[in-house]
Amino acid sequence: MSGSDINRRDFLKFMGLGGVGAATLSGCDMPTTITLEEGKEKVVAYLAPEEYAIPGIGVTFASTCQQCPSGCGVHGRVREGRVLKLEGNPEALNGKGLCQMGQASLQGHYNPDRITQPMARKGGALMPVSWEDAWLLMKEKASGTAQGRSAWFTGTVSGHQSVLLAALNKAWGSKDHYVYEAINNAVGSAVNEAVLGDATPVYRFDKAKAVLSFGADFLGTWVSPVHFSREYGKFRSGDRGVLIQVEPKMTLTGGNADLWVAARPGTEGAVALGIANVLLSENQVDGKQLPQAALDVISQYSVSKVAEISGVPGDTLVRIAGYLKERSPSLVLSGESAHGHTNGYQNAMAAMMLNVLLGNIGQTIEASNSMVFDELKAKQGNSKAMLDFAAAAGAGEYDVVFFMGANPVYTAPAHLAMADKIAKVPFKVALSMFPDETTMSADLVLPLSSPYEEWATSVSPYQPKDAAISMSQPLMKPLSVETRSLGDILLSMLKYQGVKDYETFEDYYAYLRSALDSLPASVKAGKDSDAFWSAAVQKGFIKAPSKPGSLKVSLGELDQGGYQTNGDYPMNLVPSSNQSMYDGRNANLPWLQEAPDQITKIFWDSWVEVHPKTASKLGIKEGDFIRIESDQGVIETQAYIYKGVHVDTVAIPMGRGHEEYGRYAKGNGVNPLKILSPVVDEKSGELATHATRVRISKVGRSEELPRLGGSEVQVGRRLVSTVSADVFRRTEGA
């Protein structure tokens, strides 16, 4: 470039100033009318807004999440009359946090598949009707029902809706109220009640130095996961507690554990007994806490015998016992994968025995704060309710059944033939927000408002700190004028039934105001009616007095049943629950369908987890379609090869495979609950959800899994630095 005055640096400067700059801005001058056109959108002015309402700026209101039975407090940000975002209520049990199911509950509220008006079955199909016609139909078919020939089938209910429901059942002379939850802790509660005299004691993760959990996914779905996650944080900080998880399929909690142990499904109790054996014989733990009968049973479960029964290596049992002995107090838990067997009760009992042996009762397991208002307490669901209901409905015991907050047609195993049994009930009423399987089989559908459109009170089943009544208030006006809250429908039915106590209330709001007014003066702390109400609504809950609890200890039967094998069906089926689809109720929320599974990273579809050894034996590769066959039926889905599952086990997540339930749920994936075998836990009568035996085979088709990432390794990029356990032990001396 000799002879020219421009050198390289000047040239670049020139390009930077003129060329590039001009090019950038001219691109920015594209007319926005490509996407925006003047006058095509509406802007609605307020009529007469509240003083605090400023368009564009959110105002926060307290309410309560109803997406699972835990009942977390929420703060909803409301802007221009629309609720936009939920967060945890910092003062409530869950604290500032809210799980992804709670976050996604907004999509339930705004769901395009919501039922917006009453529907009645006419000529085989559900047709829209007016509320007048719906009430006429109720009068014709339901009000003359003979005593004892009507029943309610619901999910967990609590608070004042529960009071009204009880009053209504009384007025109708019906005692049958089935409370059903597919994901429950009923076996655990039964053992707690039997041993401690307290069905829901308080678990002090923050005080524990080691946690041994037999399938209790307390970070995912067990009892009160958001609260437990917070407590788990305390457990892991400072003197870092050790978490050991024993389960057939790695849950979210298992993924966080320091030691994850895959025991043969159903042998969790034997593992607990083996650990107790080591503690007593080798770790010099004093057995005087245990009755002689228990010590006799434990002495039969030597390390070698337990290793043979459970498939857990003996040295692992010794190591676990070592942790528990070293780190006191500890906390031993049991959850659904230990409970869902014919010996589920004994499994839970064996876990509780470890707590007694290690002296954890009163240390990390404390008495609950039982609220004095018994009528408001949560009626907790279990699966025995569904089995009992199926038997009663099948025997033609009911003329009228009301369904609310539960979807038994979807969650019931095929052997129960739930749809056929429900069809035998002459008049079925569903109170529902969505056209789920049970709702679509009803004769009359009453549209419910969303939890963010209604007044309600509720009481969390798990109350670790202070007993509290949670408040739900409408965060916005109902999206549809025809929907009604559960409280309003129950009140109307009570009035209709001519129950004197309820005649004076214009609506459920008026009833709630009066009910809160009648709380004892100690609760109201000297406030007048309006001040007390505003404080309750503002805070999101009312602190209620509680009875101080106490724990007794009386250990029950420990003996474990023999482990059953079945040559025809060599594998075990785990219908796993996760903090996403839950029991299937969240399948209509696209955020959760889209959010990858926490462990496998798969979305929008089902999968079956197969251990690499089993996979190589059968020649299965990731994405292959697999046929999973039990004595009750067959399902087909794609394989995900996964080390976090027991060799003889396949795991399929619950919640997908809906036949109804709106555009996002219908037709996606498979439902593992359908092929469950008809077995129950012998002691509690609960459905043994994890006791189904299956055989698997290749279908011969393969497709890529819908999965985020797609690679299990970092391809040498060291995105997350890791060190192998062997190297760590060698270098850190742990």
């Binding site: 801005l25 001219s26 691109g27 920015c28 001058d29 594209m30 007319p31 926005t32 996407t35 925006l36 003047e38 006058g39 095509k40 959108e41 509406k42 802007v43 609605v44 002015a45 307020y46 009529l47 007469a48 807004p49 400023i54 368009p55 564009g56 700026i57």
Partner: protein, 208 residues
């Protein structure tokens, strides 16, 4: 230095009333003033270089042909009296019907537009206005910050002249009945003004 029109006119009146300045000096001031008036026509707002690009938007019919000119130009009502949210919120907001009715239960009740407004009010029906100025959802624009910069934290700026700041993006609404888009409001328009007025240049200021 920038001097607002209003300030200049007051000063001129005062000077004439005193009648003590010499002819040549008065002539000089007059010339000087006229220079100021001409330049002030483009620069009413101190410490600001207004955007100049224009756009020819469509006429947007509204349910009620709200006369901005009658309210502002003829009756001297400040923009922020009705669009009161602009100084506090990302959006300027349309005033609530209750604000209209605050005056119009008494004033001009014989006018057909007011009768239409009253009808809406009495039926408890909110008015569905047609949106004239809009930005794509991936643009985070806030009225509040712009009003802080050009009005409330702008030394020498009189809030009475806020309409001059509004006019940067909305044009001279004072001369019109219903609003019309007269500025392009695209990225080039925003970025040029940000460059001229030392506004933030980070991508994420607007695209968050």
């Amino acid at each position: 230095m920038f001097v607002s029109n209003k300030f200049l006119s007051k000063r001129r009146e005062k000077g004439v009333g005193q009648g003590k300045v010499s002819q040549s000096l008065a002539m000089f001031f007059l010339l000087l003033a006229s220079v100021f008036v001409i330049s002030a026509a483009q620069a009413e707002v101190p410490n600001a270089i207004p955007p100049t690009v224009t756009h020819s938007g469509e006429d947007v019919p509204q349910p009620i042909e709200f006369p901005h000119d009658v309210h502002t130009e003829e009756n001297g009502i400040n923009c922020l009296y009705c669009h009161t949210y602009a100084r506090r919120s990302p959006v300027a907001g349309i005033p609530p019907s209750s604000k209209c009715m605050g005056c119009h239960t008494i004033i001009a009740t014989d006018k057909p537009r007011i009768q239409k407004l009253t009808e809406y009010w009495e039926n408890n029906e909110p008015i569905l206005w047609n949106k004239v100025h809009d930005l794509p959802d991936f643009v985070h624009f806030t009225h509040e910050k712009h009003l802080q910069r050009f009005v409330f934290e702008n030394e020498g700026m009189d809030v009475e002249n806020v309409s001059e700041v509004c006019a940067f993006c909305h044009g001279d609404v004072k001369k019109r009945t219903v609003a019309k888009k007269v500025k392009p409001l695209n990225m080039g328009f925003c970025v040029r003004c940000h460059e001229a007025n030392d506004g933030p240049a980070d991508c994420w200021k607007c695209h968050k």
